[in-house]
């Protein structure tokens, strides 16, 4: 079943002219019971997209369906969807214990035992009020709500911001274990793919509001390859291919990153002519795909 479907989806903030195009022409399908990573740099449009899916924001162009309905102002979508980020608001007079108690009434699938056990594990003081929590503790508590509510569509927007590294690891493992027991659709946004990569089934990489890449995460490691060696031989091998990244170094040497669709024979032959092949780390690949033209070196070259 398809849970989220977007066709030429767009979102402008402010006036059309002079306003900001946060999402431009995004089309994709997200299937049920997958963990999907929404990856992009700061300002790529991740939060805007998630808020449209959650029904918080109304699209200004194209089509968006969540559980086959338009999500904006829709109670059915709202009942099946949970949006978790660090600015979740709860009634000011509520303690954490109050929130957990109400959440159990609010979400039909809420696992109160799990929520309490997680809160105890992360040493949360349930007598405290939510708006007095530190940034990291707030993230941790919101993440617990996100896991324990077992919502059919759970959206996590940068859920680990402010968490220390040990809490992060525990959170991801808790999410995975709970997902195995209660499969559901989870969208997880992050600007750092390597942190969530192993947890994901699919990845949607966006840049400047548009899609860069949407594929099973397992295919990502084999998507691109680095070629390093004498400029002429590397250039010959890469001819006619889209170059994702280019660096010159030393005398007449070059490093190119291109899509990986060479035959092993072709690579073996290139190796004998001094062309080295380098695997591309997935974080680097995302940077290449979403990067501005050139690199930081160009900034300094001008002076």
């Amino acid at each position: 079943m398809i849970v989220v479907e977007a066709k030429k989806l767009g979102k402008n903030y402010g006036r059309v002219k002079g306003g900001v195009q946060a999402i431009r022409g995004l089309s994709f399908i997200m299937e049920e019971n997958k963990i999907i990573g929404l990856i992009g740099r700061n300002g790529a449009g991740k939060t805007t997209l998630l808020k449209m899916i959650a029904g918080y924001l109304r699209p200004t162009g194209g089509m968006l369906r969540v559980f086959e309905r338009e999500p904006f102002n829709d109670l059915t979508v709202s009942a099946k969807t949970l949006f978790v980020d660090d600015s979740m608001t709860f009634p000011l007079s509520f303690t954490l214990a109050d929130i957990l108690r109400e959440a159990a009434r609010f979400f039909p699938g809420f696992d109160a035992k799990l929520a309490e056990a997680l809160a105890e594990y992360f040493s949360l003081n349930l007598k405290k009020s939510h708006h007095h929590l530190s940034k990291g503790t707030k993230s941790t508590f919101n993440a617990i709500i996100g896991i324990a509510s077992h919502c059919p569509l759970t959206l996590f927007d940068e859920p680990t911001s402010g968490m220390d590294s040990s809490v992060r690891k525990d959170f991801y493992r808790a999410l995975l274990k709970d997902y195995i027991q209660h499969p559901r659709t989870i969208i997880l946004s992050s600007h750092l793919l390597s942190e969530v990569e192993e947890l994901l089934e699919d990845i949607l990489l966006i840049h400047a509001g548009a899609e860069c890449l949407h594929l099973p995460v397992a295919d990502l490691k084999e998507y691109a390859i680095g070629l390093r060696g004498p400029a002429r031989n590397v250039g010959e091998l890469a001819q006619g291919r889209e170059i994702l990244h280019r660096e010159e170094f030393g005398q007449g040497n070059i490093y190119l990153v291109v899509k990986k669709n060479f035959s092993p024979e072709r690579l073996e032959e290139a190796r004998t002519r001094g062309v080295e092949t380098v695997p591309i780390a997935t974080d680097d690949l995302c940077n290449y795909l979403t990067g501005s033209k050139g690199g930081i070196d160009d900034v300094f070259r001008r002076n």
Partner: protein, 140 residues
């Protein structure tokens, strides 16, 4: 269980290789049930779909077989198939690479063979018999 995320090998390949090692060292004998994708996902802390991909890799190579509704089981011939596959990969990959690199470095055929023999001698005593056989071939 720790995976190496920095490795060139995709995670699902690393999982299938770990299962192969478990079959080779006898922890998973023939017709024994293999871990499910969910067990593997928990063990390796990865998405169950990634674990399933590792299992399917082994199913494609007939190292494990599917029992409808029950899961995956180790093929009785699994050990032989893994060894044959690895041997083939060793000869066509690593060994060819060694020979062509030796060529690039100007190491002659005889020199290469005696270097290999020397390294094998440094290894464990168990290797001696293979080495003897190698010597006979070398003198032919």
């Amino acid at each position: 269980m720790i995976l190496n995320p920095a490795s060139m090998k995709p995670i699902y390949v690393q999982i299938s290789e770990w299962l192969e090692a478990e079959i080779l060292n006898g922890h998973l004998p023939g017709d024994e049930r293999v871990y499910s994708q969910y067990q593997l996902a928990e063990m390796f802390n990865v998405n169950p779909a990634t674990a399933a991909k590792g299992l399917n890799l082994l199913a494609d190579e007939e190292i494990v077989y599917k029992q409808r509704g029950l899961g995956m089981y180790v093929a009785p011939e699994a050990q032989d198939r893994i060894l044959a596959k690895r041997k083939e990969r060793f000869v066509n990959g690593l060994l060819r690479e060694v020979v062509s690199e030796a060529g690039r470095l100007g190491i002659g055929k005889e020199e290469l063979i005696s270097l290999i023999r020397e390294i094998a001698r440094e290894g464990s005593g168990e290797r001696t018999r293979e080495e003897e056989r190698g010597k006979e071939k070398g003198t032919e």
